[in-house]
Structures are given as structure tokens and as C-alpha cells.
Point group: C2
Chain length 197, copies 2
DNA sequence: TTGACATGTTATCAATCAATCAATAATGTT
DNA sequence: AACATTATTGATTGATTGATAACATGTCAA
């Protein structure tokens, strides 16, 4: 009748990763403490360190994971849709990631501003180029199309990072901007970001 | 024959602000210490605190300053060019800010990922909307045009933050991406970011 | 059942950092 | 020249945080 009280280390690592994504997304890689992540994951702070070796290693793990998720989502979209509709579908796939795991894109956004960081910088550079390569090599997008897709994605990161959708009801400008940037998809964002906790 | 060894507090504040922009741009608002900024500015750490009251107040000052610079640059571009060529000229004005003060756009990028921060969040949200308003109200851009201009700007922030132009010579993909995103302006970026110090 | 191993915790430390305070040294004024 | 004012620093501190190590507890095979 007793439920298991312990997970094996791989399962626990997955849980801590999910917590780390939430916390890193909200506070950034530096301000987020291993204690914050531990509390979110329901384990002790030293165990977070134990599971990943160091905070830096955890950060690297998350950045790699986030980029891989983006690449996988893009490859799936490329395989599922006709070439002429690809840009729109890839954009939708990107936003789908936000729904699946809210913090993912914000972690990416944080990584993409950390080019000078010795741990994150190389990973982020390599990852960004890898995403671009995926669009051009696998998706057969022109460099211009790929650039537009990436630009739209980076704007999405900012809109989500600023929590602008929360002002949707109160601010005409925000409504116009979201309507212009996400034609037909505004509802997605209006409900996406949870009201303040 | 003696040179002045002291500046008045306003002059010193300007110098410290410039240092803060450099340091914040490189390390982010959290990882950058007041000691780092003090060293860059050539003053003591306590004096940085004294001049701005607190690190938080300094951060708020910088975010407000950066946004004001963007708005001013956009207004100048709007006043100087015909409506049909505005989007391109506004994009150029944005990149011009990078040349004038390298860290400005990176500080903005950091602020735009800090929506959950109680100090930065409100300032960044308000600032972003203010920039959008400037494009729509003063520049008479359509919401769609404004969204594209902002998207291109956010992509520029990421490209600069990742220091991708440094890989221009070594990486074909980077060359293609920069050529696609900045038609005719690639040279600007190739030389922009200083080689590693 | 017992022991061995993997999962976890508590206690603790060293380092870092923003902030305070008292003291000092330029500068300008009378 | 003396004085008031402003700029600036050195010394210090309390709080935070990543990491370590020693210890505890759950799980499972033999």
C-alpha cells in the first residue's frame, strides 16, 4: 500500500531539470539559485548539485536540452508540411514549445544574451547556428526566410519574457501588437502566461 | 599645470553610467558587480553605490537611459526620412546605436528577458510598449510593419549578444545569415564587435 | 532478515558582494 | 590663509550562495 518515496536518479534528474527550466526562465541563470530550484523540485539544495555536478553543469545541461527541443520541433514541422507553407508552420511549432514547457523559450532567450559567458556562450552560439542550419539545410528555407523565422522567434521570446500578454486586457497597444505579430494566434498568448502567482 | 583630479558628481555619474553599460552588457545585470563597474570607471565600489543610491537604482537608471536612446534615435529617423522608406531607416538607426555605444542594445536585451524582475520588469514592459508606440504613432507604421521592425531588432540583439560576427571569417553559415539579415550592412558587423580582449 | 547500494539530508564552510560609515583629500569661497 | 563643501576612499559587515562531507534512510536481491 506504500507509495514509493524515492525516485531513481534518472527520474529525479528529469524532475529537477523541469524545475530548473521554470526557475531559470523566471530569474535568469545567475539570479536563480540552486536552492530555488531545489525548493521547486522538492529536494534539498545539495542534492541538486550532486545530481548535476555543479550549477554550471546544470546550466549547460538546460541550454543543450532547450536547443535540442527546438531543433526536434523544427525537424518535425519540416517533415510534416509542404515547403511553401513551412515558415508559418515552423513559427507555430516554436510557439507550441512554449505551451509544452513554458520556461523553455525564456531559458533560450537568456542563453542568447550570454555570449560572453564562458560556459553558456559557446553552447548558445553553436546552438543558434544549429537551429539556423536546420532551417536552411533540412527545411530548404532561403537565408532570408530563415532570418525572418528567427527574427519572429526572437520577438516572441521578448514578448513572452516581458509577460506582455498579461496586459492584453488593459492595453490597447499590446492588443494591436500581439494581433499584428500573431495573426490568428492571439488567443494562444492571452491565456498562456499564468496570472501572477 | 595640474590637471583636475576630480570631476563633479554629475560628470562622474555620466562616466560611471558608461562603464555600467559596458559591464552590464557583457555580464548581465545580476552577474555584473558594482565592483566590476567601479573598476571599469576607475572609482571605488562604495562610490558607485553612493552616486546612484543602490545597485538596483543604477540598473533602473541604465534601463531607462537605454530605452530613451532608442526612442530618440527612432524619432530622429522618423523626422528625417520619407514614410515609405522608414522601416529600413529605422533599422539602420537601431544599428547605429550599437556603433555609438556598443553595450546599449545588449543592456536592452537583458532587460527584455527580465520581465519577472520587480525592478526591471515594469520598466522594460513600459519601455518596449513605448518604442512600439513611437513606431506606430509618430512613425505612422502599421502594426505589422512595427512588428517586423521590432522582430529584426530583437534578432540583432541576439546576433550581437552571441558575438556571432566574430565567427564571420570562420563560418560559412554565419556569413550567410548575416548577409541575409543585413543586406548591404554586413561590413558594419564584421568589424563592430572587438576581437576578444 | 539482513546487508549492500543507491537515494537523499543536515550541518557547515569559504567566497562573494552590496551596503554602511567614518575618515581623508581636493576644490572653491571669503 | 582659513574654511566650508564636495568628492572619494578604506575598512568592514551581514547576507547570500555554491559546494563539501558526513550521516541517514529507503530499496531490493539473496
Amino acid at each position: 500500500m506504500e507509495q514509493r518515496t524515492r525516485l531513481n536518479s534518472d527520474e529525479r534528474r528529469v524532475a529537477v531539470r523541469a524545475a530548473a527550466i521554470r526557475v531559470f526562465a523566471e530569474k535568469g541563470f545567475v539570479a536563480a539559485t540552486t536552492g530555488d530550484i531545489a525548493r521547486d523540485a522538492g529536494v534539498s539544495q545539495p542534492y541538486v548539485i550532486h545530481l548535476f555536478g555543479s550549477k554550471d553543469a546544470l546550466v549547460a545541461d538546460i541550454v543543450g536540452y532547450a536547443i535540442q527541443r527546438v531543433v526536434d520541433a523544427f525537424v518535425a514541422a519540416i517533415d510534416a508540411h509542404a515547403p511553401d507553407e513551412l515558415p508559418a508552420h515552423i513559427g507555430a511549432a516554436y510557439l507550441g514549445l512554449f505551451q509544452e514547457e513554458e520556461g523553455l523559450l525564456l531559458c533560450l532567450a537568456h542563453a542568447f544574451t550570454a555570449g560572453a559567458d564562458p560556459t553558456i556562450g559557446p553552447l548558445a552560439r553553436e546552438g543558434f547556428v544549429r537551429v539556423y542550419r536546420t532551417l536552411v539545410d533540412q527545411g530548404r528555407l532561403s537565408p532570408e526566410q530563415a532570418g525572418q523565422v528567427l527574427a519572429a522567434g526572437m520577438l516572441s521570446n521578448v514578448i513572452l519574457g516581458l509577460q506582455l500578454p498579461r496586459e492584453y486586457d488593459d492595453n490597447q497597444m499590446v492588443r494591436d501588437l500581439l494581433a499584428a505579430v500573431y495573426p490568428g494566434n492571439v488567443e494562444l498568448f492571452k491565456n498562456a502566461t499564468a496570472p501572477r502567482e
